[in-house]
Symmetry: C2
Subunit: 384 residues, 2 copies
Amino acid sequence: MNPAVEAVGASVIRALHAKRRPDSINLGLGEPTLFPNVAHFERATRWVGEHGCRYSSNIGDLDLREAIAAHYAYPNLDTAANVCITTGSQEAVYVAIKTLLDPAEDELLVVEPAFNVYVKIGQLEGLRLRRLAIDPRGDEPFDADAILAAVGPRTRLIVICSPNNPSGRVVSRATTARIAAGLLARGGPPVYLLHDEIYREIRYTDDVGDFGKVYPYTIAVNSLSKSNALTGLRIGWLLAPKEVMPQLVKMHGWATSCASTFAQRVAFEIFSAGELSVSRPWYAEQLAGVLAAVRTTGLEYIEPEGAFYLCVRVGAADTLAFAEQLIVERNVVAIPGHIFAPDLSGWLRTSFVGPLSEVRTGLTRIADLARESGLVTPAAPQRQ
Amino acid sequence: MNPAVEAVGASVIRALHAKRRPDSINLGLGEPTLFPNVAHFERATRWVGEHGCRYSSNIGDLDLREAIAAHYAYPNLDTAANVCITTGSQEAVYVAIKTLLDPAEDELLVVEPAFNVYVKIGQLEGLRLRRLAIDPRGDEPFDADAILAAVGPRTRLIVICSPNNPSGRVVSRATTARIAAGLLARGGPPVYLLHDEIYREIRYTDDVGDFGKVYPYTIAVNSLSKSNALTGLRIGWLLAPKEVMPQLVKMHGWATSCASTFAQRVAFEIFSAGELSVSRPWYAEQLAGVLAAVRTTGLEYIEPEGAFYLCVRVGAADTLAFAEQLIVERNVVAIPGHIFAPDLSGWLRTSFVGPLSEVRTGLTRIADLARESGLVTPAAPQRQ
C-alpha cells in the first residue's frame, strides 16, 4: 500500500453528509440545486446518434478549446493550444500539482482558507507544503504582501481560490496586479500560480481579479459544475502557458486518457449559447435573502463577494464535534471551518443553494445551538 | 517540473495517429467503429431532466455498482461495496497502481506483451518495475510457471491483460487456476493481481479465465469502451477486495472526485438491458474475414482468441520507422509491436474494427511494403 495514500484523510465533507437524514436541512452542499439546461444534453445525444461516442484527443476537442480560450481571452493563454479539457476541475488541479512540482525539490504554497483538496493532493504527491492563512474577514483577504513574503526559493506553485470556497471573498484587480508584479520582479525560474476560479461566474461585485489577465505564468482551472449546475457531468479544463502544456497533457492522458466526448459536446453547446453566467441573478437574490436572514440571528458572518457560501461564527472549540451535534440534535448539516484553515476553527461554512426558507431555518437553528451551548453571546438580532 | 512526468514518453499510438491523412486506411485504431445504442443516452437525458446532474458519491451509484457486482459474480468481489466507478478503465488502472504499491518498497510485475499504460504509470509513480515478456505465439501465452517464477519478495501487484492487447490471446481457465494456486501457496502478504479485462466481452473461445473467479486478491478493471462502443463516455470500474477499497476510493476521490452521473445512468441502462456482449457476433464475423484476408498475404500472424487486433510480422529491425514509412508511402496506419513488448519488435498490431474491405487492403499493403523492402519472404499466399 502507498503510505502517502494511506496517510491522507478522506473527505470530511462527504463523511458529514453521510450522517444526514432524509429530512435534514442541508447547508453543507457544495453544489447548485438548480437544474441544468437539458436541451444541451438532448443536442449532444443527437450528436452521438450521428457520430458515435469515440475517444477525443488527450488534450480535448478543438472547437471547445477554442471557445474556452476566447471566453477568457487571457493574454498568454488565449489559444486552443493553451487549453486542456479534464474530468472536472478536480482532475485539472490534480494534474497541475502533480506535473509542475518536483517532490524532491519544490514547495507548494496554498493560500488559505481554501477547499482542502490542494493540501491533500500535495500530501499525496509527497510535496513540501506551505500553508498561508490570511484572515478572510479583513480588507485584504488575499493580502499581496503576505503572499509575496511567503514565496520562498523552493516555491514553484502558488494556489489561490477566488471567489473563495469557503469565505466567498474575491481577489480584487488591484491585488492580482500587485501579486503579478511582485512575482515577476523576483527573477529566476517562474513561480506558477494556480488560480482555481471555479466560482468565477457567481459573483456579487464587479471588482474581480483574474490572474490570467495579468500574470503570464497562471494556470487557470475551472468547470461547468458550479456555473451551470453540472457537478455530475465531470467536465472541466485547465489553461496553461504553452511551455508546460505538453507535460500537463501527457500526465492527464496517463491518468484518465481524455475527457468525455459527450460532456465536451454539452460544454460546447453551453459556450456557444453564452450561458456561463446564466445563474448569476438567481444567486444574487439568494444572497440578499441569506444576508437578511443571518442578520436576524445575530451570528457573526463573512459577507460573500462571490460563490454561494456564508461562513458564520459559532465559537466552538471543537468545530467538528459542533457540526456533528448540529446534525444529531438540530437536523442541520454545515461544514466545520477548520478544514479550510486553522483560523476558521469555531466557524461553520453554510451554503445558500437551497430554498431560502430552509436556509433561514438552518441558520436560526445554528444560532440557537451556539447560544444554548453558551458558545456565543450574539448581539441583539438586527431587524430586517 | 516533476521529473518522473517529464521522463515518461507520450503515447506513440496517438503520435502515429496524428500523422494520418483523411483518406488513410486506419488499422491503428484501438476502439470500435460500431455505433453505441443511443436510446440509453436519450433515457439518461430524460433522467437528468427529472433529477438534475449532481455529484455522485466518490465510490459511485449504488444501483450501478450492484448491477456490476452481479454481472461478474466473482466470489470475493460480489457486492456493491467491492465496486468503484471510475473515469474509464484508464483511471481505474491509475488508481490501483498508485494506491496498492509503496514506491519505497514494492515491485510491479507487468506480463507482456501488453498495452504500455501499466509500465508508464509505474514509471510515473517511481515504482520498481519488472517486465516479463512471454511469447504470444506459443501454447502458453500466460505461462503460469514463468509468471510465478517472476514473483519476487517485493512483488505486490501483477498486471495481466486478457483478452490481450495487442496479441488477442486469452488466459485459459486452467492457467488462471494454476496462477491462483501458486500465489496462494506462497504465504506472506498477499500479491494482488490486476486483471485488465477490458476486452472480456469480445472473445472467440469459450475457455476464458477470469482471475476474479479463482483468486481472492484480484483487482478486476473494465469499462463499456470496447464492449459497447463507448470509448468517449469515459465510464469504467474496478472491483477489489473489501480490505483495499477504502484506500482505492479515497485516491479516486482526490484524483477525479467521482464518475459522471450521466455516464453512470447510461451504464446502468446497458447493464439492465443485458447488452454487454451485444457486439460479439459482429466481431466473430470480422475475425473470420480478417483471417481469410491475412492468409492470402502470406504474412505470419497471431490468431486472436479475443479483442479486435491481429498482430502480423513484417520483420523490420526498426518497427517504428516501418510504421512511419507505411503511413507516408502506403497510407496505412498500424501500430509497431515493440511498444507492447521487446519480443514484438518486427511486428505490427493491426485492428479489424473497420470495414473488411479496408482491412484487406491495409493488410495487402503491409505485406507489399514488407516484401518490397526485402524484410520478409512470405510463403506463397494461401487460397481462401
